[in-house]
Symmetry: C2
Subunit: 430 residues, 2 copies
């Protein structure tokens, strides 16, 4: 590294952090990108890993490989322990990193809202590790059920409950339905009829961020795929037997199922607690319209952690705001270096979509709604386009497309790493 070049430290190698680093490629700065994993995860397809549709490796790529050829960037695999805003230092488990500019892109972690039993019995679906663990649990249930002579127990063993009717919950329920109707029906013909999937949502409709027409469409599609949807059902607790829900009428009812996937809530990454950054109640960071932190113009926040203080608005939890935020932060840093004020961050909304099975999706783009096969093609096209940029190798892409389209994968291998219990991040204050 050259002396006296400004040091930009980026925390997190998700879309926000990575796009910040890439946008600084030709800048006269030294970039240090820190992540606890040595890889970037393509989170939009994580639900496919959780449903054993895709191999875990297909959605991950080493950060160093992505940054190959970017001379001004280095990667450090480390866990952030704390941020010292006064001294402009980030403390990690493997050393301390001083910065002139800090970009906080640590994202969010699964959060249980304190609902009893969630941490003990429900599987989060926020990290590659989560995807692998959930996937193993799903696959193991079929093996267990096939040796079970008691019909009620078989039914409970193969009851899959998905909590949260947002895009992740809808996509995961759809993918599970395809796993079960496809390869599981072939490999476990004797027990597959005992399998059931229930999607549980507290509000009165699925895909609350999309127009109502799309909610109704998702409900119909899932129903046709055999997924039971329970809207207006608030989760009261999770037990080894299933999920106790309270309906809008006030009654409590046990939904039976031994595998519970939690897509019900997130909060800001725990690493930023205690740093003095202005945190919101859900652990995000209040930032100004330029994505800078008040009284710390050298600190930027991008991605899921952002809460725009002036509008009290939260950007959608998608790749697009994170990528655009990263590019914005990079430009703003260069503005500050030139002595000019950074521009306001303007999010160019590219829409939101959820795929429901292998040939249907719901998309809301530029105020218009799309459904069905056309929306699915849109979804596929967008992901293929991004994956090309992301993975940079046509063969790998082809591979993914082939696996995805023809459903032939060895992804149903039950990895024998003795990890079975849900792995939850520390609770704030733990």
């Amino acid at each position: 590294m050259e002396q006296n070049r400004p040091r930009v430290v980026i925390l997190g190698a998700g879309f926000g952090g990575l796009w910040t680093a890439r946008a600084l490629k030709r800048a006269s700065v030294d970039v240090t990108l820190i992540d606890r994993n040595n890889f970037h995860t393509f989170l939009p397809l994580l639900y496919q890993v959780g449903a054993a549709e895709l191999e875990p490796f297909a959605i991950a790529r080493p950060v160093r490989t992505i940054l190959r050829g970017q001379k001004n960037a280095r990667f450090v695999q480390a866990t952030v322990l704390g941020i010292d805003l006064a001294s402009k230092l980030v403390r990690c488990d493997r050393g301390v990193h001083g910065y002139d500019y800090l970009v906080v892109a640590l994202g969010t972690v699964a959060y249980d809202f304190g609902v009893p039993g969630v941490r003990e019995h429900a599987f989060p679906l926020k990290t590659l590790e989560d995807g692998i663990t959930l996937r193993s649990s799903v696959l193991a249930k079929f093996e267990r059920a096939s040796g079970e002579s008691d019909a009620a127990r078989r039914h409970a063993t193969l009851g899959f409950l998905v909590i949260g009717g947002g895009p992740t919950g809808v996509e995961y329920a759809g993918a599970l339905a395809e796993l079960i109707r496809g390869p599981m029906a072939e490999d476990y013909p004797d027990v597959v009829d005992d399998a059931s999937i229930t999607l549980i949502e507290a509000s009165d409709r699925l895909l609350g961020a999309m127009p109502e027409r799309l909610s109704a469409y998702a409900l119909r599609r899932l129903d046709r795929m055999g997924v039971a949807t329970r809207v207006g059902s608030t989760v009261r607790r999770v037990t080894p037997e299933g999920v106790m829900v309270q309906t809008t009428g006030g009654e409590e009812e046990l939904v039976v199922g031994n595998t519970v996937a939690w897509t019900g809530g997130v909060r800001g990454a725990p690493e930023i607690a205690g740093s003095g950054l202005p945190l919101t109640a859900d652990g995000r960071i209040d930032v100004g319209p330029t994505l800078q932190v008040d009284r710390h113009p050298e600190v930027f926040v991008v991605g899921d952690l952002v809460r725009l203080a002036d509008t009290d608005r939260q950007l959608p939890q998608l790749c697009q705001p994170a990528m655009q935020g990263g590019e914005h932060a990079a430009r703003a840093i260069l503005s500050l270096e030139r002595g000019s004020a950074p521009a306001r961050f303007r999010y160019r909304d590219k829409g939101i979509m959820a795929v429901i099975g292998r040939n249907a999706a719901a998309a809301s783009v530029a105020g218009r709604s799309f459904t069905g096969f056309f929306a699915w093609c849109l979804w596929l096209g967008i992901h293929i386009a991004y994956l090309i940029g992301f993975r940079n190798r046509f063969a790998v892409l082809l591979n993914w497309a082939w696996d995805y389209l023809f459903f032939e994968r060895s992804a149903r291998i039950l990895i024998p790493l003795r990890v079975r219990a849900p792995l939850w991040p520390d609770r704030p204050g733990d």
Copy 2:
């Protein structure tokens, strides 16, 4: 299942067990195949998983998927707890299985010969789990070294020691050398020069089962790839710092390296201990020339567990003897059903080979030795041919071939499953 058909229970879904089951496809018997994993592992390529050359999923396939369409076979994922020869029962963690014929194909497990420190500090390479764990350890060392300012510690961190100069050790050392000279050199240019690989063998040459010419060839090839080979070096103990060896001259010497892979020894699977089967000192099973157990003609042994009592001969620990043994056991069972005596098992030796890097191999076939690119093509051809039968999908094969030949894989992802310590099977008597 139909009543009164003979029940054939097969323990182990390796090459021996699987080939037994497949050879019984059209027979009027009920086959139960039991394995602790839900998948079959293509062990000849396991070393590539351990060297992060291949993704773990590429060499595994669900047993149920392999057996799809075989009406008379069912699969049970269970751990064998014991065999009751008198009552003709196999006790598992998930139920008891009575048999009329038993085929024991449980193979071998890594064994440390009681050398101190091996179980604590050396990684076995016998199962898919081992491959994943070793691979994670290797990858993590590069991340750790890149943050290490002390040159001696960096050198120790990137010292890779491979114990055992048989085919697995030679192949693994060669694959590691390619990993380091290839993607690691690109991703860790600052520390890659500190990496070293040492292959340690107690006898006076590598590949002891092959002609001397091939041993010399392997030594030269590895040397050219930067692998240091120490023959005539007996491992006295393994420590966190490295391996203490004793040379033929009697001196002890510490070979420094923080990652130790153990390919140095195996013994019979621990599940058969206490069953009353005639075990050899190394935990294998003495069988007659028909692969039947003395006084238990209903029990067959196939694969790595076989020790032919009359000749005191052990078959090579390869797929070929296991597959041929499985087919033999199936034919023998049908002979017994017809009331005739089973034939002797005759192993048709198809040769032995070891690949050394991406374009060279040593092969000994029908008394002739082959080396170099030609031998490697032979190796590639044989594996492709088997994988076609095994995986049954041209696309998957292409995939493997592409990944293998062009070395572009995401296999360098450090799976964040919190398993880092070597996982050893229980010691006999534990």
